[in-house]
């Protein structure tokens, strides 16, 4: 009786272990899948902000280099996942996420700085255009007045000349 109970117990443990192993594999795969998804999302967000920073006039060369590093890690994770070799998937995806988050933060700082800089640049250019055009018109008007006065003086200074009417 006792022996039978032991056998049943061992059989149950084995069945539970088999069931657990069946469960663990998909959970592990879904963990890898989730880390790839998270890295993908981080990189997409970082790139969107880098693009915005570039549109605002920021220099994004360094940020693109870092994004390329993150992209390579994510691609390596994706490739390993597709090949069925799950060992380095999570670490690569997490490293990609870390780099992308850092790039995202730097891109936001650059975006804010670039927006302020481009606004300043715009106002400076506008002031230069308005002031420059105004000064130019005023100077030209003064030159014109002087020219007109000289012209009239010259006309007044002319001596009348008697011309014989041939007709």
């Amino acid at each position: 009786m006792k022996r039978q109970a032991t056998k049943i117990g061992i059989a149950m443990v084995l069945v539970i272990m088999v069931l657990l192993s069946l469960h663990i594999t998909p959970v592990k795969a879904s963990n890898e899948s989730a880390s790839i998804e998270a890295a993908n999302s981080s990189i997409n967000q970082a790139f969107t902000n880098v693009l915005a920073a570039e549109k605002a006039g920021g220099n994004i060369t360094q940020l693109l280099t870092e994004l390329n590093n993150a992209g390579q890690l994510l691609a390596a994770a994706d490739n390993a996942y597709r090949s069925g070799n799950l060992t380095s998937v999570t670490s690569n995806a997490e490293n990609a996420s870390l780099i992308a988050d850092q790039v995202n933060s730097n891109a936001l700082s650059l975006l804010n700085a670039s927006i302020g800089k481009s606004q300043n640049n715009f106002w400076l250019t506008l002031v230069f255009s308005i002031d420059g055009a105004f000064v130019f018109v005023v100077v030209l008007f003064l030159v014109w007045r002087r020219f007109k006065r000289n012209y009239r003086m010259k006309l007044l200074g002319l001596k009348p000349k008697v011309v014989k009417n041939e007709a």
Binding site: S83, A133, V137, Y151
Partner: protein, 197 residues
Amino acid sequence: MKLENARIIFVTIGLIGVLLFASPTIVLLLKPPAGQEFTELYILGPNHTFDYIPFNIKANVTYLVYLGIGNNVGSPCYYTCFVKIGNETQFLPNATLGTASPLPALYEYKSFVGKGGTWEAPLTFQVNNLAFTNGECQLSGMTINGVDYPVSIASAWNSNATGFFYNLFVELWIYNSTLGTIQYNNRYVSLFLNMTE
């Protein structure tokens, strides 16, 4: 010179001057029309030329080509290149409909290329298991850039071109920041491969 003529000259100089001073602001406000926007996708041989592009393929031999991208879109781009393989009759991307191939991707590249920039990366591939039986070639194992992939693709003997042909092709996808997803760019390059014993 008549005074009226001088007035016309002064007014003209005034207008030109105002335009010159306003031009920096006009440049900031008006964007010039963009030219044709496109991305180049290319494959070069091992010498970075069109020479020695692999064609006759043997099992367990590594072949090298270079994959390249040129960004002429006018802004930085986030590219994904999917490497796929199929036989002669399997679906390639449809250039008319602009749809990607439904075949599963084996390998992928991700790259961020600045405005006007280029990107190039090696693409090494090796077929691991080739079996030739009853006028059919069975490919069941491939290594791309050092990563092993289990594949199972059969190709029938092509009596016209005399060979067992496969297409190794690379599709170009671009990230659309408005939609928040990657989209097929209707561009692909392919290597026509003849599997030999």
